[in-house]
Amino acid sequence: MKKIRIGSGAGYAGDRIEPAVELAQKGQLDYLVFECLAERTIAIGQKQKKQNSSKGYNELLEARMRAVLPSCYKNKVRIITNMGAANPIAAGHVVMSVAKELGLKSFKVAVVTGDDVLPELQRLDLKLIEANVALSQSGKDILSANAYMGIEGLVEALESGANMVIAGRVADPSLFLAPMVHEFGWSRDDWRKLGKGTCIGHLLECAGQITGGYFADPGVKDVMNLARLGFPLAEVDESGDAIITKVEGSGGVVCEATCKEQLLYEIHRPDQYFTPDVVADFSNVTFQQEAENRVAVKGASGLPRTDTLKVSVGYNDGFIGEGEISYAGPNAVARGRLALDIVKARFSVCGFIPLEARYDLVGVNALHGETRSAQNEPYEIRARVAVRCSTLEEAISVGNEVETLYTNGPAGGGGVMKSAKEVLAMDSSLIPRSQVHAMITILEG
């Protein structure tokens, strides 16, 4: 039975680079996928692109490609990624220039576009799901609208024979499903196989999260050598069954427990995982440890895809200002509480009314509130103030008020840090498939 090997080279935009190099060198891969686009990343990219029309793609693209292209080229590993973010064409040109510098002959990049649907969203005045009103009625300052595309454009791009396929917003599992459909010739309505391939993609898309990352709990769930965590690869056969494994000698662990945690990561109904390609069913998936760091995946299925695609919509949502200060030793908690009370009172003295505010004692209640915190007083705490504001000036003033606690606040306050940032929030919408068209642009050197 025909088999292919697909590696996962990144779990998010800023992920480690050397595990991907290790996969390219030693993974005997056919494909290396980089999933680098979180919900908000593309809105940030749109903003960068507005300021500079040659930007808006993944900031680590050049460094990543410089690191992995030589091994990928030599070992005939094809790369598939959404690192194009808001500007896949510009990303394609960057990759071409890196390939040229590295002296890679006849290098070919296929760029997939068509996910930017802001004009269509505005023309059709579609509904924003969280806000529960039509776009035009939402009063929001919309920055971006990108549809989650499926495998169509990616498979076509692979058929062009390109060394690398670069897209923007594509559903994460589709990046992995595309090479399976391309290699095995699965029918586009073989929902069971598409469900199985989607499951494998879902397991791989967060890279280190299935090889022992986001898992370790000392003494309970120990993981070896997280500083050299190996990223995962799947050996997939044409029936859609797979083995999840990693390069021998790398850090981390692939076991049934890591696979189970990742299967349910960011999943709601396990029997209805909506992607552009299929409604996948993970409810009967099973894992079987076949050898050390080798786990077999079976049992996923699927139902026909829906007629709409999800669109993630980015909008400006004011600013957040933050400030933090630490207290230690006897009575640290009381001094921290006093510090927070002072800042709260200062806002009213200055006539500043926060849109929303949080006053935390890190070490006591910042993560899960008061009720769960320890009865014993911690040795040190960190007072934290976070405020939603309408203007950047107000956001800056929040950190400044915390800083004034050095000379105006409780005894022994130290280590102030402050920040002010613009907020890019996200909503979502559903757009008819007929409005979204994948387009392929070939770049050749």
């Binding site: 919900e39 908000r40 969280e130 986001y214 898992f215 709990d217 309970v220 769930k221 427990a257 189970k260 945690e261 990742q262 299967l263 349910l264 990561y265 960011e266 999943i267 709601h268 109904r269 396990p270 993970f282 409810s283 009967n284 998936v285 099973t286 894992f287 049992g299 949502d317 957040i320 929303e356 505010a357 949080r358 935390d360 890190v362 910042a366 993560l367 899960h368 509130g369 008061e370 009720t371 769960r372 934290r384 976070a386 405020v387 939603r388 907020v423 890019l424 929030a425 996200m426 979502s428």
Partner: protein, 99 residues
């Protein structure tokens, strides 16, 4: 006994929704968590954090429950004022549950 003694857990986020998996180490303990860790109990456990509904899904094939908690993340990762904007630490809070 704490849930931590028999199960492990991972949190994921989508918008303002958090999901927490609860997975037994020994498949024979699945019945135990299925009976003891109801959606209602999880709703109460996170009463001070989660404003919306808690829905539970069962995965007997891998010995797991999946809790989907609505309005759980202070508006969601992109706009929350919380220190842990993703709610990554909620899984650890669930494992502290007594059964």
């Amino acid at each position: 006994m704490k849930l931590r003694d028999i199960a492990h857990s991972r949190t994921g986020d989508k918008g303002n929704i958090s999901n927490i998996s609860l997975i037994v180490y020994d498949i024979n303990d699945y019945v135990l968590i299925k009976d003891a860790v109801t959606a209602e109990k999880v709703q109460n456990w996170f009463g001070d954090i989660v404003s919306g509904e808690v829905v539970r899904y069962e995965l007997p094939a891998i010995g797991a429950l999946n809790f989907v908690m609505y309005e759980a993340l202070g508006g969601g990762v992109t706009r929350s004022l919380a220190l842990d904007i993703h709610g990554k630490g909620l899984s650890s809070a669930l494992l502290d549950f007594d059964i």
